[in-house]
Symmetry: C3
Subunit: 164 residues, 3 copies
């Protein structure tokens, strides 16, 4: 029985960004030489999620997959983009004080929508590994979503595999 | 330490179908002889979810558990059933072209709501195994949800257990 | 390879309660002596969830973290608090009959919103363990949410760790 971990980085922009990371995850699995077990793809960032969905073939004018843009549309309805202070309780005065102490701009904390969206979609996916392959079916792809719209970020994607 | 996997099939209809699969999962656990570990129930289908909920004793006129129909009611409000093209971005022209290449009817792709609902509820549940039992509490049951309303489908439910 | 399990209890009130349990989970991890693996924090209760989020520094007048109260605000919009029978299908007559058989007050079953909210947010989180630490990033904290508003409850939080 082995535990294998691998971390890779992706770059996000100033729109909700949902990127296909299946290839990087499959490479990590191949490198691990684990044949049977489970694979976890995990976000350590509290404004990001990991999800499994079909690639929907069409891209919008921003280069976003149609189905992913539909997902963002649903999220926008239930958790509107945070455009001004007072729209949500967060960020409060103590939070801004702490952020200033980390040399962050106050406006960077206006990412309440991203925190809430990410918790609704979850931090990770757990996938069975069988015969050396992640069982994703015919159409499943792994996506890393960064919902933070206030600044561009470099993000860590973590892959943890346990098995034999 | 052992890795055990088991797949079984269920049949869904043309309404959102949420079926109790606890018994099949518990049978797989018994067969695995794993006493301590974790158990993953996973959907490889991108319009399906796995969830844990209480059985609520009452069934509606379609035979659906009251609590599950309430869940469908909430989903309908936030992600309305896709009834016509243009309601969501997906399915786009490239997607329809690809679907035709797989001998699928174009209308089968009007399952955008199912893709989005399934991603909101997640693809899997992970349950501790202790003393040979999945820790579901007094009332927890495992459900497999197929949100696709455009056609009847046979679906694979995957159980992966790791432990000793 | 070891499987380690630990259960601890928390007390919830008559408002949606979302408590930081990171310290208890980290203590369990230290006790397990597992250095590499995965850690699952799990709710066996069907009106509770486990989630990862940032602590947002400010508390409201009830002592609830601002970001968590914002989360409750979003949930209230999409799954309104159940205030009367007939608002949701659940609880139905068979459910009430069963509850009476368990010496429960009928009004205790008016927790439909809590069942639905908990399923939307999920029953568990799965976190990579690396170098003896749960990989939570700079800001991630583990929260146990009890959405049941009809009575105060003692709840079990389960930690399952597998690794070496």
């Amino acid at each position: 029985m082995t535990v294998f971990h691998h971390t890779f980085k992706i770059q996000s922009g100033m729109r909700p960004s949902i990127q296909d990371v299946t290839e990087q995850v499959e490479q990590a699995l191949a490198e691990s030489r684990i044949v049977d077990g489970i694979l976890v793809v995990f976000s350590q960032h509290t404004t990001c999620s990991v999800l499994i969905q079909e690639a929907s073939d069409d891209l919008d004018y921003w280069g976003t997959d149609f189905l992913m843009q539909d997902l963002v549309g649903v999220l926008e309805k239930i958790i509107p983009t945070c455009r001004t202070q007072g729209q949500y309780l967060h960020p409060g005065p103590e939070h801004i004080k702490a952020a200033l102490g980390r040399d962050e701009l106050p406006s960077w904390s206006l990412n309440t929508d991203a925190h809430l969206r990410s918790v609704l979609l979850g931090r990770s996916v757990t996938i069975p590994v069988e015969g050396g392959k992640a069982v994703l079916g015919d159409f499943g792809r792994i996506y890393f979503a960064d919902f933070d719209q206030v600044r561009e970020r470099e993000r860590n994607v973590r892959v943890q595999i346990i098995g034999e």
